[in-house]
Amino acid sequence: MSDAPSPAAIFLAFARIGITSFGGGLVAYLRDALVDEKKWMDHDEFLAALEIGQTLPGLNSVNVAIIAGRKLNGPAGSIAAASGLILPGVAALLVLGILYDRFRHDPDVTAALSGIAAAAVGLLLQVTLKIGAKQFLNIRDLFFVISTFLLVALYHVSLPVVLFLVAPLAIILCRPARTKDQQ
């Protein structure tokens, strides 16, 4: 790319997303900014990046930033994109953390924080149910949802063990049909 955006421009663009995005819908903000606004990627490129980002470990939004940054300006682009996305939120968190430390024994603050934490659980539950809607309606998927949940939440089996036990089985059951014209 001859007119590759500079790391500074990439950082600023992602920092704007990092400041204005709230509550989990980060990927949608990224799409709007990268595809519609900046026209740094087309829709298919974005979907491909998201696909990789979702499959690999790590946060989807951060992974998309890494891939988009690489496309825009190599390693420097990736660093600029990811740090732009992450750092403003960390600054905000630090302020919240300092306030929390100072006021956490104040009964008014404790009560409000209990309400906020309770609301956060509701948010996570809603996101999980929404993303998992398809999986809950499929018997085989539901089996894996429930067994993963039970192993981790009730039997406290550690995550690496669960992944090594359950993931190969789940993937094998989804294995591609043996057809020559698959591709």
Binding site: I67, A112, G122, L129, P176
Partner: protein, 183 residues
């Protein structure tokens, strides 16, 4: 010093285990930081998680606050770098290889196989945060009823209406302040 090394180990591992986004790794994070290393209490974990939901940007930047509680600014930086860098490196490398496997049917099998496991892990994440923030044996029935209702209300509202979740967190805080003071 050894706390910093432990932070590094714990969050590097969590980074590489965070399949399908950050929420999947919540139960393991809670286990490591609360039960195993006693860095924070369950209540603090739930609160820090909810602060992460309120701050802009990726919600798992909450790891910065855990690091901060453990070892100040150095801990904050270590937790952030350890949590984001390994998965980012992996994504950076794999985004090269991804196109190579574009037409490999196993790629689809991996995605479909992992989906229900991710959902199961997210449900376990709801459980990990909810067992202190929503239904906490240390709190009275009255208290738990209110926190559970706040959570369910948030879930219901988000299904009914597209609304900024951070706003709902604040409302949850207001409701908590009003009903949970002095309980």
């Amino acid at each position: 010093m050894s706390d910093l090394v432990k932070l590094l180990n714990v969050f590097c591992l969590l980074s590489l285990l965070a399949v399908g986004g950050g929420s999947a790794v919540l139960p393991q994070m809670e286990h490591e930081t609360v039960a195993l290393h006693h860095w924070i209490t369950g209540n603090q974990f739930a609160t820090i998680y909810s602060l992460g939901q309120m701050a802009p940007g990726p919600n798992m930047s909450m790891v910065a606050l855990i690091g901060w509680q453990v070892a100040g600014v150095a801990g904050l930086l270590i937790a952030l770098v350890a949590f984001y860098l390994p998965s980012s490196f992996l994504t950076y490398g794999c985004s090269y290889a991804w196109d190579f496997f574009k037409d490999n049917p196993w790629r689809d099998a991996v995605q479909r196989g992992m989906a229900p496991i991710t959902i199961g892990l997210m449900l376990a994440g709801v459980h990990a945060v909810g067992k202190t923030a929503s239904i906490n044996p240390d709190h009275s029935l009255h208290f738990n009823t209110i926190t559970t209702l706040i959570g369910l209300a948030v879930t219901g509202i988000l299904f009914a209406k597209r609304i900024n979740p951070a706003l709902l967190m604040l409302v949850g805080g207001g409701v908590g302040w009003f009903f949970l003071r002095g309980i």
